[in-house]
């Protein structure tokens, strides 16, 4: 903190962490409420506090973004605690994303959790996971990246296994935990090797050391960077650590699946972007751009082909989320040093749009689970005649995920592929486009089942869960509104990305 910068109208620098603190305090507040009232007699209060906390974090992050906190317009990035944390445009962009997904999921969980035990714990775990994600976006040191990743992961394991009388949920939680533990170990090992080669955990120092003379330690640093990439591949559900995703998303309660596949994945990308772009220079060590090109192509192809063969909607969405991890990886795969900000920013914007449309799609699955209709495509047949509004919303999510023009998903994919072409990787964009065309096949299967197919048997939907419905409709609105509103989003994302490129 430099005294010269301390003007009367300026907040102390630690307040730049306000979005993280808002999430953490809300989580603790939920525990306090649960201590006073251990039997969850006021579920509305719990969901309300969680929503207000998430919205407060969203508001703070949005306010900081528009006020220019940590951005080039006001003295650049703010570093805190011996440079271990950094708050800049990218941090705030991702924090806004996590906070909005958290708010959506908390609102939707209110109906999903009705009558279940341990509601306060559910919301508290979700907010703690969101705290971890917000910290991941602010990590400027490999140690902070690891601790924040664990803070985001540990509550997620518990959330996946939340339905503890349900075999599928417990099995999913166990698999998620085991693969998570393995990849955390790989990640920690990678960090230790990078530290051994460079002598620092702070990303700028690591960058300088790697760009300089390593005196025979290039191999050690290279293996370390590979292993760090493995740790991020787990969090983003990319090949080769993607096995957990279909199992965990299918077994977990649907709102949790939405939370994990949107916010948690974006958190993995937030920290991966920061660590690779500001920590590992392209000139020295391993050519990690090549690594991510291979991973991106394999991930998006595998995810889309596997999704096309699924019979269950939730499992199809799980594989499609692996496919989307492949698209987002283009941000790193087409990174070209100084001019890499554009494609990186496009990837960030895609993650934001994806956050809304994918969460919305999983919330629609939650709605279907709430009504007790089955899990397969056939079970969704004829749903549109019973629940037209939700079905319109689901169709919006599906077409937007496929990247069709009138929805937010179109522009984000367009900018992403354009960024790849501009960077000279036209074949990456081509593979992406082919995969998108394939994805239209299985996304449209859902829409066809909803609108065109006749119901196999008569069924009644029962009561309409207001909060869940509202969350689905809001996510659909956001997906549609992100089309006209995409200009500011992509501008913010690209300037934030350009600011971190060293």
């Amino acid at each position: 903190m430099e005294p010269a910068l301390l003007q009367a109208d300026q907040l102390p620098t630690w307040t730049a962490l306000a979005p993280v603190l808002a999430l953490a305090v809300t989580g603790l507040l939920l525990l306090v409420i649960d201590s006073i009232d251990p039997n969850d007699t006021r579920p509305t209060l719990l969901a309300g506090v969680g929503t207000v906390g998430a919205l407060a974090a969203l508001g703070l992050a949005g306010w900081f973004l528009s006020a220019g906190t940590g951005q080039p317009s006001t003295n650049g990035a703010i570093t805190l605690y011996g440079d271990a944390l950094i708050v800049d445009g990218m941090t705030l962009f991702f924090q806004a994303l996590f906070a909005s997904v958290t708010a959506l999921v908390v609102v939707a969980s209110y109906d999903y959790l009705r009558g279940r035990a341990y509601q306060a714990e559910f919301y508290a775990l979700m907010l703690f996971a969101a705290t971890g994600m917000a910290l991941m976006a602010a990590a400027n040191s490999l140690a902070v990246a690891f601790v924040a990743l664990e803070l985001a992961s540990l509550p997620s394991y518990a959330l996946v296994a939340f339905l503890k009388r349900d075999t599928g949920s417990v099995e999913a939680g166990l698999k998620y935990f085991l693969i998570g533990a393995l990849s955390s170990a790989v990640f920690a090992f990678g960090i230790s090797l990078v530290y051994a080669a460079t002598g620092s955990l702070l990303l700028p120092d690591v960058y300088e050391a790697l760009a300089g003379d390593l005196t025979g330690l290039t191999g050690v640093a290279g293996v370390g960077i590979l292993m760090v990439a493995g740790g991020f591949a787990f969090k983003t559900a990319s090949v080769p650590f993607h096995f957990w995703a279909p199992e965990a998303y299918e077994g977990a309660p649907a709102p949790v699946s939405g939370f994990l596949s949107s916010a948690s994945k974006a958190a993995g990308f937030a920290v991966a972007f920061r660590v690779f772009v500001t920590g590992f220079p392209l000139e020295a060590g391993v050519d990690w751009v090549l690594l991510f090109q291979v991973l991106a192509v394999v991930t998006m192809t595998l995810g889309n082909f596997a999704a096309a063969t699924q019979e269950e909607v939730k499992r199809m969405l799980a594989y499609s989320s692996i496919g989307h991890a492949g698209y987002a990886l283009i941000g790193l795969a087409a990174f070209t040093g100084a001019a890499g900000g554009d494609v990186l920013g496009a990837s960030m914007a895609h993650l934001l749009v994806y956050g809304f449309m994918n969460t919305g799609a999983f919330l629609f699955v939650a709605l279907a689970e709430h009504w007790g209709v089955g899990r397969t495509f056939d079970d969704y047949a004829g749903l549109a005649s019973k629940a037209p509004v939700a079905s319109v919303a689901m169709s919006v999510f599906m077409f937007s995920l496929a990247g069709l023009p009138p929805f937010g998903g179109f522009f984000s994919k367009y900018f992403l592929f354009m960024g790849a072409v501009d960077a000279g990787f036209w074949w990456l964009a081509a593979v992406g486009a082919v995969n998108s065309a394939l994805s239209l096949f299985y996304y449209s299967r859902v829409v066809k089942a909803l609108w065109l197919d006749d119901a196999v048997s008569e069924f009644e939907l029962g009561s309409t869960p207001t909060a869940l419905y509202a969350a689905v409709v809001f996510a659909a609105l956001a997906t549609v509104l992100l089309l006209p509103g995409f200009g500011p989003v992509i501008e913010t994302a690209q300037s934030a990305a350009a600011a971190i490129v060293p």
Partner: protein, 137 residues
């Protein structure tokens, strides 16, 4: 003379004397096999059950978890306590030194109170487990 030779001699004596005593007694003593001699020694009690199927009450797990939390807390408080006085003496403000630790402990206290209210430290007796125990003995 190398000082390690004395240590080596001591080690040889330390291992050799007990081995020698056992060897000598094995040669001299009469062999009288008896069932009571091969039974597990339980301080004079008659041994019950087998040693392989020991089951602990799952509730110890909660206690162990709570212990780990406070164990880790101690690890962080310890270096803080060491620098506390020197930091104050060198002119660092009380708020800078004390406040972070108070917040840290406050977070843990919230967690402890929560666990307490959820009944994590309450010992639940299981009627079925108690019945099995009496049936076994």
């Amino acid at each position: 003379m190398n000082a390690w030779i004395a240590i080596g001699a001591l080690a040889v004596m330390g291992v050799g004397i007990p081995l020698g005593m056992m060897a000598v007694s094995a040669l001299l003593r009469p062999g009288v096999p008896e069932q009571g001699k091969s039974a597990t020694y339980e301080s004079g009690e008659i041994p019950t059950g087998s040693a392989t199927g020991i089951q602990f009450n799952i509730q110890y797990y909660m206690v162990a978890l709570l212990f780990v939390v406070f164990d880790v807390e101690t690890v962080l408080i310890f270096p803080w306590a060491v620098i506390y006085q020197p930091a104050l003496a060198s002119g660092v403000g009380l708020a800078t030194v004390l406040l972070p630790m108070l917040i840290f402990i406050g977070v843990l206290v919230v967690g402890l109170v929560w666990a307490w209210r959820q009944g994590a430290v309450k010992w639940v007796s299981s009627p079925r487990a108690a019945r099995q125990k009496t049936e076994r003995s």
